[in-house]
């Protein structure tokens, strides 16, 4: 892809994002369109979108480091980088969403053990530590090499891995440790991606969320969107596009993405069809809102159309699954439109009156059940996307993740 277009796009997104972030902090009031009746909107959706991707990408890396699936080796380190970049995007977005963001430290200083949110915070704090350790172990040789080169990244690399080149014995030990930490990482990552689902699922006041299927929807969604993003990164940016490894992995990734997407759609079907068949108003009305409400197109056109049917159509012929452009397009559509899935979890759960008559009881822009993100929210979201892209770019630029033979023993990186 034309890198000049990509860089221009990134620059625009970053500039708009930076302006929106500045406005968010310096104007003294919350500029977002969410309100007291729909208190979570686009930013919470973006947060769970990126957190899911991070978890999915990390779980994909465990296929390499825990389950030792050698065919996936070239994407092991790439997956870890995607996991780190998307996690950063998630945390930045949720930081913006807080009413008093600079009190975030209180979640560590005075946590409440009864809150799912506290549990989540502790889980993904552990996950961050684990991810950084995994990156150090998986990329020690690459980081040490980068620490000797000029530029600011050398300092980061030195901080992560030191200056001393690892011995073969050290590398073997690292590989062993990667497997062990990966084993710890699997339940941890499943807990935190499922835990985000539980964060919604435990809210008894919201029948649309209050479902035991919610954690499973989040885990399957994480796998589908995370794998899709890794597939996009791999098929778009990998340099040795003519190699057998590339062709083989393109096919494998396409199959993996299709499998995870199908799993998500099955869970989604189960959730929606049961609510609709039972027709208990509190639950069914929220599903009807998703399917036939004013934002029906978010579900039918963006999610089902662009996010499921078009990718399925593209990837149905086996020949297309070895074509990197087609796999990139299909996986890109899945990854990009998954935000619609996240928005359709967050907002419809809140968009119905809890008590009849609430809508007209008090007139104020902050007390209504109509929500569509405003430009400020899209602006901050652009910042989060550009941050994820920047971290990914910096990682790929300074570490041999996409070059010929990258990620394989033959390639020398591991």
């Amino acid at each position: 892809m034309n890198s000049k277009i990509l860089k221009t796009l990134w620059l625009v997104a970053f500039a708009v994002g930076l302006f929106s972030v500045a406005a968010r902090f310096f104007l003294g009031k919350d500029l977002a369109a969410y309100n007291s009746y729909i208190p979570w909107g686009l930013w919470v959706s973006v947060y769970i979108y990126f957190v899911g991707m991070s978890a999915g990408a990390f779980l994909l890396s465990t296929a390499v480091y825990v389950f030792k699936i050698q065919r996936l080796e070239p994407i092991g380190k790439l997956s870890l980088l995607v996991a780190l970049a998307t996690l950063a995007g998630a945390l930045v977005t949720i930081f913006m969403d807080l009413g008093r963001p600079f009190r975030f430290w209180k979640v560590y200083a005075s946590p409440s053990a009864t809150s799912m949110m506290t549990l989540m915070i502790w889980l993904y704090t552990s996950y961050i530590v684990l991810l950084v350790v995994q990156i150090r172990l998986a990329m020690r040789a690459d980081l040490v090499a980068a620490s000797g080169r000029p530029g600011w990244f050398a300092a980061v690399a030195r901080l992560l891995a030191g200056k001393e080149a690892p011995t073969p014995a050290r590398l073997e030990k690292d590989r062993h440790l990667l497997g062990i930490i990966g084993i710890v990482g699997i339940p941890l990552t499943l807990s935190f991606s499922g835990g985000v689902g539980a964060l919604f699922g435990v809210v008894g006041a919201r029948p649309y969320w209050n479902s035991a299927l919610m954690p499973l929807l989040f885990i399957s969604g994480a796998l589908a969107s995370g794998a899709a993003l890794v597939a996009v990164a791999f098929t778009l940016f990998r340099e040795d596009r003519e190699s057998a490894i590339f062709r083989d992995l393109t096919l494998l990734l396409a199959n993996v993405v299709l499998g995870f997407l199908s799993l998500y759609v099955i869970f989604e079907w189960a959730e929606f069809s049961i609510h609709l068949y039972a027709a208990v108003p509190a639950e069914a009305n929220a599903v009807r809102l998703v399917l036939f409400g004013p934002f029906w197109w978010v579900f039918w056109l963006v999610h089902i159309g662009l996010g499921v049917l078009v990718p399925l159509a593209i990837l149905a012929p086996v020949a297309n699954r070895t074509d990197p452009s087609k796999v990139a397009l299909a996986a890109g559509l899945i990854a990009f439109t998954f935000l619609a899935v996240r928005v359709n979890i967050v907002v419809p759960g809140l968009a119905l009156e809890e008590l009849h008559g609430l809508k007209n009881a008090y007139s104020d822009a902050r007390l209504n059940f109509n929500y569509f993100p405003n430009l400020w929210e899209w602006g901050v979201t652009a910042f989060s996307y550009s941050l994820v892209a920047l971290l990914f770019y910096v990682g790929c630029k300074n570490l041999p993740l996409l070059g010929p033979g990258a990620g394989t023993r033959e390639g020398g990186a591991r």
Partner: protein
């Protein structure tokens, strides 16, 4: 006049001020006609005809004499008496200096039936002060909690503004303070806030000023049953403003209190009882 006999004047006085009530009247009349000694002081059943406001203030005073953990503040709202004037909503907003978008006690309106058999129902909705509040356990930093007297409170200095509690409340009783002011966006210089917007809030006995964008800006906010008033012997502002005496307040654990008496009514019900939050706001339907 002998001590044992009730004078005509005293009798008429009791009837006129409406203090004696139906139950006491026959007793007095019988005592006068039988010539038997009547009690020195006739104490009527409390619920009958005593001014509700005075009685509730006595209830509050009595409750305040108890240790805080022995109090259980509650509210009873008689829907037959509510005329939907929204005086409670407005007085609550002025009492607590609420900004735009923050409301503690809206009045829900519902039209019932079809013409010609139509009616309107008004349901004031303060915080339900649940016995099992789902909003407190979701807070990641323990900023919102149930006090020993049963009122669910918010520590504004602890709240991080995640709004999880807003999603968890089954009654939409919590709103977020997004930092808005009434004079913003209406052509006035936002730097020149009107004096009423610069007033200190007194919730939880704390003086706070939103004009500096400090807490409670960015925090969740909710009805407190006017803790700052009741702990000074006053009634919550919505109770003292109600023109129809539709809202009653007091200590549900004091059997002599008006609210405890009314809570035993077969008309009493709670909103969304099926979700097990056990609200301490009861409605007489």
């Amino acid at each position: 006049m002998s001590d044992g006999a009730l004078s005509k004047r005293a009798f008429l006085k009791q009837v006129l001020v409406g203090v004696t009530g139906g139950a006491a009247l026959p007793t007095v009349a019988r005592a006068a006609s039988d010539g038997a000694p009547a009690p020195k002081e006739i104490v009527p059943p409390q619920a009958v005809n005593e001014n509700h406001i005075l009685r509730m203030m006595k209830d509050v005073t009595r409750a305040l004499a108890k240790p805080i953990e022995k109090r259980r503040w509650g509210m009873v709202i008689d829907l037959k008496k509510c005329v939907g004037c929204s005086a409670c909503t407005i007085n609550c907003a002025t009492e607590n200096a609420l900004p735009p978008g923050v409301v503690y006690r809206p009045v829900l309106e519902e039209q019932l039936g079809t013409y010609p058999n139509v009616g309107r129902r008004f349901v004031p909705r303060p915080c339900m002060q649940c016995e099992e509040p789902p909003c407190t356990k979701v807070c990641p930093v323990g900023a919102t909690f149930k006090r020993p007297d049963g009122i669910t409170a918010i520590d504004y200095d602890q709240c991080i503004g995640c709004r999880y509690c807003l999603t968890a409340c089954p009654y939409s009783s919590r709103t977020s303070d997004f930092g808005d002011f009434f004079t913003q966006g209406v052509g006035l210089d936002p730097k020149n806030l009107q004096p009423y917007e610069k007033r200190d809030t007194l919730e939880y006995h704390e003086k706070r000023n939103r004009a500096k964008h400090d807490s409670p800006v960015g925090n969740a906010r909710k009805c407190t049953f006017c803790i700052h008033r009741i702990e000074n012997g006053m009634l919550p502002s919505c109770v003292s403003t109600c023109i129809g005496h539709a809202t009653m307040f007091g200590d549900l654990d004091d059997p002599k209190s008006l609210v405890a008496e009314l809570s035993g009514s077969p008309r009493a019900m709670r909103l969304r009882e099926e979700i097990g939050t056990k609200p301490k706001v009861l409605y007489l339907v």
